[in-house]
């Protein structure tokens, strides 16, 4: 299926890929509808759903009042009745207002009652946009703890489209973490395939031999840049894009770490009990006897994300730290 975008035909941005994935599922399945703040006539705060109201009409594109718990509950109830709602949180930060609905009504539903909740929760997340402590958060660790919820975090346009399509088709609530930093920073040549990308499948995006970098979202791009630099020094880095956080693709992680015998984990979320803690524990349990050194985490500081550029840059992982850490781990 050809991709319809507003950008140049020869390239597709991460944001355009999300829009294309969403539009293709709305075309394919009349039970898919969209609800969120400003998603209709305004096209979304980040313009992901620009043109959707005209294309799909007000029956399927719902501008909600500011009521995250209310519209998440509405979506859960509609999903219980067999529809496939896609909820847009304007910023992932606002998802805290819907915590109860997500945890108790959406995620526990199938275990409690056997009824599926085919629901996609789109949440633009992450830092580096000078948006400060309540508009820059990474929320994956809160939700990874909740049985019944799946979590995906694509890094590329192809995965952004393909994982969104899979999330919408999935019969479970799926938290879809889209990087608002990558929206217009990542472009690939078009046309983009709109094949679904399976949930629960990590991908080795660069093969290497000395150290495995296990990461997702923005970290994948930083990791690839670091790996290219270290390659100049003869240090071969394998970059694994987790793509899905829940359920975690343990087989791909262990295959990589068992090969390289060293593991570095990279994410932007705060270090303490960030998702890297789960990955590190998994690597320790599964790969201990193959490891040549301790598992190392590169992560955000245990602070809120500050607003001012110098402060924010110091709070989240930057390329020099990633390169030096990988070099140290690979060579000791």
């Amino acid at each position: 299926m050809p991709l319809e975008t507003d950008g140049p035909a020869e390239s597709v941005s991460y944001l355009e890929a999300i829009a294309a994935g969403l539009a293709s599922e709305m075309e394919a399945d009349p039970d898919v509808f969209l609800i969120g703040e400003d998603v209709g006539q305004f096209g979304g705060a980040f313009k992901v759903t620009k043109g959707f109201l005209d294309r799909f009409g007000p029956r399927r594109v719902i501008d909600s009042p500011i009521a995250e718990s209310g519209f998440t509950g509405l979506a859960c109830g509609a999903a219980l009745m067999g529809l496939r709602p896609v909820v847009e949180f304007q910023f992932a930060d606002f998802i805290s207002c819907a915590f109860d609905q997500i945890i108790n009504n959406c995620s526990k539903q199938h275990y409690r009652t056997g009824n599926p909740i085919p629901l996609t929760l789109r949440a633009p997340f992450g830092a580096r946009l000078r948006a400060g402590p309540t508009h820059s958060q990474s929320v994956e660790a809160y939700f990874a703890h909740i049985p019944g919820l799946k979590i995906v975090a694509p890094a590329t346009p192809a995965d952004a489209a393909g994982l969104l399509i899979s999330a919408i088709r999935d019969n479970n609530p799926v938290l879809y973490l889209e990087s608002k930093y990558l929206y217009r920073r990542i472009e690939v040549p078009g046309p983009l395939s709109l094949d679904p990308v399976p949930i629960g499948s990590a991908k080795v995006v660069r093969e290497g031999t000395k150290v495995s970098l296990l990461t997702y979202s923005v970290g994948v791009h930083q990791g690839l840049e670091a790996a290219a630099e270290l390659d100049q020094e003869g240090i071969s880095v394998e970059v694994v894009d987790l793509r899905t956080l829940v359920p975690l693709d343990v087989a791909t992680i262990t295959a990589s770490v068992n090969k390289t015998s060293r593991a570095v984990i990279l994410h932007e979320d705060a270090r303490r009990l960030g998702y890297g803690a789960e990955i590190a524990a998994t690597v320790a349990e599964e790969c201990f006897w193959q490891l040549d050194g301790p598992v190392v985490r590169i992560a955000g500081k245990n602070t809120p994300i500050p607003t001012s550029p110098a402060l924010e840059d110091a709070a989240v992982p930057q390329l020099p730290e990633i390169i030096s850490t990988l070099r140290r781990v690979a060579t000791t």
Partner: protein
């Protein structure tokens, strides 16, 4: 006034709700139930008066005082008892239990305890019913206490602005656990809160099942016609504790005594007699049948197997 057959059916379900809950109080005291027991004494008219205003294809999002609404739809008493025992054959197979029962195959949404988070869920059910082109209605229940939570406001506002086919019932039973109405809200007339959402609000005597039915039917008709949601405040008293472990000694004796004179099941029976729908023997027969049914279902529930752990993680996700 509703016609004879419907009126008798309403009385039968109210009597059954009372009999089942009275039996379960005994079962609780005898140690046959898990946790505590939540009953709806003096809520029978609300549960039955509202549920009887709906079609089987309409969606109910009730709470733990509304056993009569479940029974109206066809949930069997033993299934509720099995839920309070954690049995394998309870509506959740023992994964959830006690007051969290409900069957989606009967178009009843199984609640959790975070009431009124069932209110937004009901707006979603209403949304889906309309989305599919039906004229179905969703009805949600909460108490005076739960109206303090944000989901109450968010759901009413969403339903109104989207003109959803919803009916919201507030069961004003004077207490939120131990907290009296005066500490819950400074605006104790719940029906008037509807004004803030741009929807009609009606207060009704929650003891009078036929009065409840009448206002519920009007609200349902309005929703079904596409004219949007309504709020109904049904006034009653929570005659038992929050649950059976709670002696409710914080309730002033005179308040309890005043309400004790207004038993909704008795009042319904009296009304049926007055209308000539049932004579005294007929009333006694209904009550005896309800008592016998409750006892029979106790035996059935007790005989049900307990669940065995079986691929519990595999049940977390739908395939």
């Amino acid at each position: 006034m509703v016609e004879r057959d419907l009126a008798i059916r309403m009385f039968e379900v109210m009597a059954l709700m009372r009999a089942v809950e009275d039996r379960m109080v005994t079962m609780y005291r005898q140690g046959e139930l898990l946790g505590s027991l939540y009953t709806g004494h003096w809520h029978e008219a609300i549960a039955v008066g509202t549920a009887s205003a709906l079609r089987p294809t309409d969606v109910l999002a009730p709470l733990h005082r509304d056993l009569g609404a479940h029974l109206w739809r066809g949930l069997e008493p033993w299934q509720v008892m099995a839920s309070f025992m954690g049995k394998a054959t309870s509506p959740t197979g023992g994964r959830d239990g006690t007051l969290h029962y409900g069957r989606l195959d009967l178009n009843i949404i199984n609640p959790v305890s975070h009431i009124p988070n069932n209110y937004p869920i009901a707006t979603g059910a209403a949304f889906a019913l309309r989305y599919r082109g039906t004229d179905g209605v969703a009805m949600a229940y909460c108490g005076d206490g739960a109206s303090s939570r944000g989901d109450f406001h968010e759901a009413l506002n969403l339903a109104a602005v989207q003109s959803l086919p919803c009916v919201f019932i507030v069961e004003n039973n004077q207490y939120a656990y131990s907290t009296p109405l005066t500490l819950t809200t400074a605006a104790t007339d719940f029906a008037s809160k509807a004004v803030a959402y741009g929807m009609p609000g009606t207060q009704v005597d929650g003891i009078d099942v036929f009065a409840v039915h009448e206002v519920a039917a009007a609200a349902v008709a309005r929703a079904r016609a596409g004219d949007g949601p309504s709020l109904i405040e049904a006034v009653t008293m929570r005659m038992h504790g929050h649950a059976e472990h709670d002696p409710a000694d914080y309730v002033p004796a005179e308040l309890h005594e005043t309400w004790a004179k207004r038993d909704p099941v008795e009042e319904c029976a009296a009304r049926l007699t007055e209308l000539g729908y049932l004579d005294a023997d007929g009333v006694a027969e209904v009550r005896e049948k309800a008592r016998a049914t409750a006892l029979e279902h106790r035996g059935k529930a007790l005989g049900m197997p307990m669940p065995e752990p079986d691929d519990e993680e595999g049940r977390v996700y739908a395939s």
